[in-house]
């Protein structure tokens, strides 16, 4: 915020002085308008993450509050050498990769349906916004009840064995979790892709059509390459979002039972259920680092540009 007063050229010619004053006033106004939001974001995310880092260096268990002491990086050592952490990272990655991949394909299909709709665009748009509006916990319950061995309709469907009890097995539970995640978030993916599709000029398709390119060729040679920036941004947002999956797992397999524990569930269990703020905070910081790694991977390796999101496009 000190920037507002430092950079104004002091010895500007008199004719330009008025402009400088005005620019100065504008800058001051801008910072005053932005200050509350900026302060809120720093206080509620910046400070707690710093505090989490501080806690992660302590031995600090709420069950033994007097036993608090500085232990350096010992908590990180404990987490990184435990098989639970690595198993949970693996589970989280599986859920993330599988759901985001399915969402990309499904989202693209829905976006194409909406983009090329002959009729019925309104009902489709309305329908896909329903999953978006529904509380994740509610959606998770809906899918959990659908697969319930005694009362769910899925086991009653033809072609599905009455003994099929996906919620009693690890892979079955992961499948239901992925299904719930995909159902809830595909609309968001579809809308982002639809916005990207609108940027592909129709003339290119017409020209390719005249040259004899098939529908498939046009999709893979024209639509996909031109949509790459939109696809990457959608993938970045959804990957980060899926990596912190919590609500679905918490409801479908409470506590991350049957090997469905994800990193967010692990963090919750250690922090809140066990009250081990030291060890739990180390997990929190490691999850934070994973998220940064994913974001850096998308931006540096895949060349995702978030300029449009920052309003610079």
């Amino acid at each position: 915020m000190e920037a507002a007063t430092t950079s104004a050229p002091a010895a500007a010619p008199p004719a330009k002085k008025k402009v400088t004053d005005r620019a100065k006033a504008e800058r001051k106004l801008a910072w005053m308008l932005c200050a509350p939001a900026v302060i809120a974001m720093i206080v509620v995310t910046g400070y707690p993450i710093a505090y989490a880092f501080y806690l992660s260096l302590q031995k600090f268990d709420l069950r033994f509050p007097d036993d608090k002491e500085f232990v350096g990086l010992a908590n990180y050592g404990d987490v990184l050498t435990s098989s639970t952490w690595w198993t949970d990272v693996f589970t989280t990655l599986i859920i993330t990769v599988v759901s985001v991949a399915i969402e990309l394909v499904l989202g693209m299909a829905i976006a194409l349906v909406m983009h090329r709709a002959i009729f019925g665009r309104g009902p489709v748009r309305a329908a896909i916004l329903i999953p978006y509006g529904i509380i994740t916990v509610v959606a998770a319950f809906a899918w959990k009840f659908a697969f319930d061995p005694t009362s769910g309709f899925v086991a009653g469907l033809p072609l599905i064995s009455d003994d099929a009890q996906p919620l009693n097995t690890k892979n079955g539970s992961l499948m239901v979790i992925v299904l719930a995640e995909v159902w809830k978030t595909t609309p968001f993916m579809a809308l982002l892709l639809l916005a990207g599709l609108a940027l592909v000029p129709d003339e290119l398709h017409e020209a390719a059509k005249v040259d004899g390119a098939s529908v498939t060729q046009r999709f893979f040679r024209i639509t996909l390459p031109l949509m790459k920036p939109a696809i990457l941004v959608a993938l970045l947002f959804r990957t980060l979002d899926a990596f912190r999956i919590f609500d679905n797992v918490y409801i479908i397999q409470p506590g991350g039972a049957l090997g469905t524990e994800t990193v967010s569930i692990l963090g919750y269990n250690v922090l809140i259920n066990r009250g081990n703020l030291g060890l739990g905070s180390a997990i929190s910081i490691l999850i934070f680092l994973c998220v940064i790694l994913i974001a850096v991977f998308f931006v540096r390796v895949l060349g995702t540009s978030t300029a449009q999101q920052r309003g610079e496009a």
């Binding site: 801008a30 974001m41 009902p123 329908a127 329903i130 509380i135 809906a142 919750y268 920052r310």
Partner: protein, 275 residues
């Protein structure tokens, strides 16, 4: 436009598949909510129209309290978030100043921030300062985590406003206040309203903060209350009651989404930040 009957048939099937996909879990949870306990195991989508489960939840003090908490907390968080975001969006879309990019990038970083990374800290901090299990204890994180979404959506809308009209009105003799309230406010209102819907849905949906930062009816919101519902025996989830409660909190959102679908789509794609 000429389309063959085959094309029309293919599209109709496509539309039906999408509708089916979107509605099946909603239909199932509504179906369960209308069953009697004896019918729960019949696996049917329709077993008559019984409102027993709704009677149960509307007599349940915990659910009523959660409903009031959810509405109040989400509404206040939305109001504050929109006011702060509107100020920021006005500055970043209309004023020239160094630091604009830093603010917008910072907001983008907050949008990607994993909540689990700070719930432990907030849990400890809130208990120390007396915000644990209170409305402000949830309003503060909701307001903050919805700021990026609100700022991006509002900036996108504000960039489209023809601000010259404000000066034009003043040239025509309007006072600056009149120019603002009679010209700019009506132009900005749709965008502000859209951002408010998206922010409200976000706050209404949250589970992780509601679950970790509350412990009683004092501030527990509906998503957390649903997870804590227990039936006759403590280890059995009352499926019917949960389903009825789920329908009660879902119907208003569905109605809102259907009425404002165009705006929500415009807002989501303009802001392009997850809600």
């Amino acid at each position: 436009m000429q389309h063959t009957n085959r094309e029309r048939a293919a599209w109709s099937i496509g539309i039906l598949v999408v509708l089916f996909y979107a509605l099946i879990p909603v239909a199932w949870i509504a179906a369960i909510s209308l069953k009697t306990p004896e019918q729960v195991a019949d696996r049917k989508f329709y077993s008559g129209f019984h409102l027993d489960n709704y009677e149960v939840i509307f007599k349940d003090d915990m659910f009523i309290a959660a409903l009031i908490n959810s509405i109040g907390i989400a509404a206040i968080a939305t109001l504050i978030s929109i006011v702060l975001a509107a100020m920021t969006a006005y500055a970043t879309s209309r004023l020239n100043f160094a630091g604009k990019t830093v603010i917008l990038s910072g907001a983008l970083a907050v949008a990607m921030f994993p909540p689990i990374s700070i719930v432990g800290s907030l849990f400890d901090m809130w208990r120390a300062v007396g915000l644990y299990d209170t409305w402000p204890g949830l309003i503060i994180p909701y307001m903050t985590f919805t700021l990026p979404l609100a700022i991006y959506t509002l900036s996108a809308f504000f960039r489209e406003i023809p601000w010259e009209l404000e000066q034009a009105a003043q040239v025509d003799g309007a006072t600056p206040f009149q120019a603002f309230t009679k010209v700019i406010v009506p132009l900005a209102a749709p965008g502000v309203f859209t951002a408010a819907i998206l922010v409200f849905i976000f706050a209404w949906n949250d589970f992780i903060f509601a679950n970790t930062l509350t412990s009683t009816d004092n501030a527990r919101t509906v998503p957390a209350a649903l997870a804590f519902f227990t039936g006759a025996s403590q280890f059995e989830q009352p499926i019917g009651a949960i389903a009825a409660a789920a329908v009660v909190v879902t119907v208003p959102i569905i109605i809102m989404v259907l009425i404002f679908q165009r705006r929500i789509v415009a807002g989501l794609t303009a802001g392009a930040v997850k809600g």
